[in-house]
């Protein structure tokens, strides 16, 4: 996959360079430059053909539309990646905090109920102990 992307990148760079040289020729055109201009035009067509071939190999790659918004605003698209990672980490921490708080609450609730309803809590614990899978019992405070 990275090889195909490098291939596309190489073609795009050559294409951009051809266009840039074409613009330099056109900026101060001389009659002797006509042959070079024609050559550059044909190079642009072949460049587009090469890019079109690369496109068919990369049809399974999807790009988020938000990246295009960053580019249209003249911003670095790596900022989008950075913000995605930061948002994912923040949400991860938020959910982990919720889970830890709920576990603590469960432990405190069981503890409080066991003081008021010892028999029922013992019954509940015995039921949960039978049905609980081992991974959950290890993480719970029961």
């Amino acid at each position: 996959m990275s090889g195909k992307l490098d291939h596309l990148e190489e073609h795009l760079e050559k294409f951009v360079e051809n266009i840039r040289q074409l613009s330099i020729i056109a900026s101060d055109f001389q009659p002797s430059s006509q042959a070079g201009l024609n050559q550059k035009l044909n190079l642009i067509v072949t460049g587009l053909q090469d890019i079109d071939k690369c496109r068919q190999q990369l049809h399974d790659i999807t790009v988020p539309l938000e990246v295009f918004e960053y580019i249209d605003q003249g911003r670095n698209p790596q900022l989008y990646t950075k913000e995605c990672l930061e948002r994912a980490l923040a949400k991860n921490e938020q959910v982990k905090g919720k889970m830890d708080t709920m576990k603590k609450f469960k432990g405190l609730l069981i503890q409080g109920l066991s003081e008021v309803f010892p028999e029922d809590v013992a019954k509940y614990r015995s039921i949960r102990g039978e049905d609980h899978p081992p991974s959950v019992t290890s993480s719970s405070n029961i």
Binding site: D6, E9, E10, E13, K14, V16, E17, R20, Q21, S23, I24, A26, S27, D28, F29, Q30, P31, Q34, L37, N38, L41, N42, V45, T46, L48, Q49, D52, L65, F68, E69, I71, D72, Q73, G74, R75, N76, P77, Q78, L79, T81, K82, L85, E86, A88, L89, K91, N92, V95, K96, K98, M99, D100, D120, Y124, I127, D131, H132, P133, S135, V136
Partner: protein, 267 residues
């Protein structure tokens, strides 16, 4: 409402059952008043018992839902899931546990530590030109300024012919240009904006920009600055900058190769 015949029995749909509701005399009297009020339209509907439905039975119970199960036919495993079943109300089975939850560090789970350190550990520059330094033109401007946005390309894709065919000789005749330089409005399109550098380094840009007429006071000031530039370290920096600027000039012979070699910087 009166019927045309004036005979209620003939046109009455309940004619076949008329004999059944003559049992009670009180009912007949009421029926006569009823017919007197509303004409001989029809006899009142007979009670359900007369029609053979039996003594008022309660309506049949509604059919059970397709997914539900009654107590008699419920499978043994469904008792735990039903509300009210078991020793405690609303006590249900816990959902199946999964290895991946929100409590695990997803960045380490998906091996994104390197990416995280790369993008979040270092400062990422804001401008698009920092991501694509070799791309010519004013790329830091918004696409809406010159109608070159990617969004417009997605919303209104251009109509493509089919394949890319080389331009023939007769078609190339349309690309004959007038000799001479471009008008000033179009000249600045391919020039990149000067990159901001430190204050000490902007002295070199003066050599390329048009120099304003010198005043006597400025000449003395510049002589003092030139003496400072004679330091060896500053000379080395100047040489390096000159090399970089010469690479971007069109007269440089190794232009194509230098562009391809600079692709590694983008990776």
């Amino acid at each position: 409402m009166e019927e045309e015949d004036g005979t209620p029995e003939k046109d009455c749909p309940m004619k076949t059952t008329s004999a059944r509701h003559q049992d009670s005399a009180g009912a007949e009297g009421k029926m006569e008043n009823f017919t007197a009020l509303f004409g001989a339209q029809a006899d009142p509907p007979p009670p359900p018992t007369a029609l053979g439905f039996g003594p008022g039975k309660p309506p049949p119970p509604p059919p059970p839902p397709p997914g539900g199960a009654t107590a008699a036919t419920a499978p043994p495993g469904a008792d735990k899931s039903a509300a009210g079943c078991g020793p405690f109300y609303l006590m249900r089975e816990l959902p199946g546990s999964t290895e991946l939850t929100g409590s695990t560090n997803l960045i380490t789970h998906y091996n994104l530590e390197h990416a995280y350190n790369k993008f979040c550990g270092k400062k990422v520059k804001e401008k698009l030109s920092n991501f694509l330094p070799d791309l010519p033109g004013m790329i830091d401007l918004p696409g809406s300024h010159d109608n070159s946005s990617l969004r417009s390309l997605i919303e209104k894709p251009p109509i493509l012919g089919g394949s890319f065919n080389p331009i023939t000789g007769t078609m190339l005749a349309g690309f004959r240009l007038h000799t001479g330089p471009l008008p000033e409005q179009c000249r600045l399109m391919h020039i990149q904006p000067p990159k901001k550098k430190n204050k000490h380094k902007h002295k070199q840009s003066r050599t390329q920009d048009p120099v304003p007429p010198e005043t006597p006071s400025d000449s003395d000031h510049k002589k003092k600055k030139k003496k400072k530039e004679e330091d060896p370290e500053r000379k080395r920096k100047k040489k390096e900058k000159k090399k970089k600027k010469n690479r971007h000039s069109p007269d440089h012979p190794g232009m194509g190769s230098s562009q391809a070699s600079s692709s590694s910087s983008l990776r």
